[in-house]
Symmetry: C2
Subunit: 443 residues, 2 copies
């Protein structure tokens, strides 16, 4: 854990090295993934069966056995404890309501002179959702990835989740049903991404693939990009907590550790104007690590990437936060909205002393798939916008093209695109042939 103070002469250099810290240690698996994709393209279902037997340690009898049946989902849903079923349903309701509010309006502009323009939103036809298997199979991720697609109006949501040793995760299946997933396939890795992107006899291809995964899954999405749309490739998670000295140090310590327990490469940063409070939080982190079940991971993350920054003013805190552009930002001061108004770059913000980031991971409503590694400077979290696209349109009457067509002809001629100019000019009634003359590039 690094301890920084803006009052130190060496602060700027230390902060820069924090900014430049490379935490993403993803292995290069380009060639292996390219091989798997080629195998699926060439071998279809047979290759999928072969790779599933090899990597997931169970033996599907045939391609039909790769699809999870409705009966299996019934059984799984019935088996989970009532409090978990209720919690999932409550989360789904809030996530759905928030994403429904995101749906944008179409626009139409009539210039009153014969040209009407517009922009129309429409849903993607088919989406593939990758869900990691084993330990990292999170039902909350199923809700966060599938519900925005359903709210957007996507007709078909195909989900792939590996089942190592053949074991299904009941909560993941229950979440899939709750979120309106159309089909669940028990396949994983690069082969699952390839099957969704290029299709097999059993699995129809999709138009966009979303969802987290290991290095193989991330690389397969990269290689499928262009054939299908993909979401961003997430790096390790991170949080910045802005907290004044009146906060409960134990709460702040748990907030920092909640991020750190994700992954040894995760990063938790406290920014405070109170050095004594910083000491109390550091002590509380150490104490909590004594009993935390995931202390090995959380401790490693905190020691390697954690940071506590003491500032002389909240202006400094705002400036540093904007430079960090964190995935998650907690603002625990007296008037959090005023500080938040000055934050330009953050994936998601959590305002007040009663708003730990974990609320947003599960039940608050906004998405928990967020831009990492300072990409909040230009990127956004997952939303309904990931599952809709725009078609713009122009409608012209004879009067309309007469009004704006001549300018198009001039520009087409200036750019040396003669057929462009002619396609407009042929529809105009011009005075004499002069305007129809083709001048070639930039006369």
């Amino acid at each position: 854990m690094k301890r920084l103070s803006t009052a130190d002469a060496a602060f700027e250099a230390a902060f820069r090295s924090l900014l430049d810290e490379a935490r993403d240690t993803t292995a290069r698996v380009d060639a292996a993934v390219a091989g798997i994709i080629q195998a699926i393209q060439a071998g279809g279902d047979a290759a999928l069966l072969d790779l599933t037997r090899r990597f997931d340690r169970w033996s599907p009898a045939d391609a039909a056995a790769l699809r999870v049946t409705e009966a299996e989902i019934d059984t799984a849903t019935a088996a989970i404890p009532a409090d978990q079923r209720d919690a999932l349903a409550a989360a789904a309701r809030r996530i759905e309501a928030f994403h429904a509010a995101q749906l944008p309006r179409d626009i139409t502009l009539d210039d009153g002179a014969g040209i009407v323009t517009g922009m129309r939103w429409g849903a993607i036809d088919a989406v593939g959702l990758y869900v990691p298997g084993g330990k990292a199979a999170y039902p909350s991720s199923v809700l966060m990835n599938a519900l925005p697609a359903r709210v957007a109006g996507v007709g078909r949501i195909a989900m792939c989740v590996p089942t190592p040793d053949g074991v299904l995760n009941p909560l993941v299946l229950a979440a899939a049903r709750l979120a309106g997933v159309s089909e669940v396939w028990r396949i994983g890795g690069a082969q699952a991404v390839a099957a969704m992107a290029w299709g097999t006899a059993s699995i129809a291809p999709v138009d966009r693939i979303v969802g987290p995964g290991n290095a193989y899954v991330a690389e397969a999405k990269r290689q499928a990009f262009g054939k299908v749309g993909i979401d961003s490739i997430a790096g390790p998670s991170e949080v910045v907590v802005l907290a004044d000295g009146t906060n409960n140090a134990d709460h702040v310590a748990l907030d920092l550790l909640a991020q750190a327990e994700h992954d040894e490469a995760a990063q938790s940063i406290l920014i405070t104007d109170d050095a004594a409070f910083a000491d109390r939080v550091v002590a509380a982190v150490d104490k909590a690590l004594e009993t935390l079940p995931r202390a090995a991971i959380a401790g490693a993350s905190w020691r390697a990437h954690g940071a506590v920054i003491v500032v002389e003013s909240w202006n400094q805190a705002v400036d540093l936060t904007n430079r960090l552009a964190p995935e998650h930002l907690q603002i625990m001061v007296e008037a959090p909205r005023a500080l938040f108004a000055r934050i330009r770059h953050a994936g998601a913000a959590f305002l007040g002393r009663h708003c730990p980031e974990a609320l947003g991971d599960y039940v608050a409503g906004p998405n928990h798939v967020l831009p990492t590694g300072r990409t909040a400077r230009f990127a956004s979290g997952l939303s309904v916008f990931d599952f809709i696209k725009r078609t713009t349109w122009v409608e012209a009457t004879e009067a309309g093209i007469a009004a704006i067509g001549p300018a198009a002809v001039v520009l087409a001629q200036a750019e040396g695109l003669d057929a462009h100019g002619l396609s407009v000019a042929a529809r105009l009634r011009l005075n004499g042939p002069a305007r129809l003359r083709l001048n070639g590039p930039t006369a």
Copy 2:
């Protein structure tokens, strides 16, 4: 040019081969580009000067000479003909108005029980715009790329345009000024993209890079992705024209050729329900090619990739168009809006007999940077959405976390993320220690 008819038994196979036709012949330049990026990262301005001398055939004295001065832009702007200046200004006004109408609203949802959630849009700080040099230096592209950024509220727009043999393009500079570009650099290729992404002593790094370019530029954008945001990598252009037999065949022929003249890899497709009209259009294309200045390019495109499809019904035409998901779509029938309502996938549509696609390339208002190669299934044209991003937020009172916190604790425990659960539970006043017990993964 291929002639297809849905009445033929072999139609489906022929149409599928049209869909699968690979038109993108981009050379693999990965290694060369990686070398250029490393040179800029290591050598900064000196490497930029060296590469510019080598590739652009002129010798900047120093890094300061790489920036186009305000005086040079004054001179260029004063030198262009009045009709071109007026046409550019008219185009800019309409493009700006259309993109201003795209700006979305922030949202706020109050659940009335202590949780307020919201989504706030904000502009990217700094954007880099690549503009190709030489023949393909299109002022219209400068307007289409820079104006949405300006409308979005981007503070700094840095533009790079190579000046082969040192020659500046006056119209491109005039368009840059009109569009509110902040700085113009006379550099190009992968080195320009690298300089914008990683920065040099002279050029501050940007957060997102947009704009068309050759294979080197496209590959440099791919390699910079993650460090900065990028727009989509455009493939060859394409148009589908839906036209009934009452249209003017010469107009339709020019519309098809306007697309074909871009590039030998471009594709123009006519879909009509009138075989005799199809014949008239084919004859009109051949006739127009006799005099068209860019006949060599347009003719090659038409012969290799052009297609005329005769359908038995407009239902078939709609279905084929949705499968093609074209970049540009002209709908030249009696009631174009009714047909357009059934189109699910197209980058931009042009409705009516008086609305050639070229109107949209220059002056109608919507953007001319559009998804190619069937990616309109999941992608959209350039817009203000490319230059803004979202921050979601949650604000919780004590009552709020008391209401939704328990569900978060249950889900965190089910996922085995104990610190997540504790960070919420510590803020709740729970009845007894039972709910605070850590159960580990899926108890």
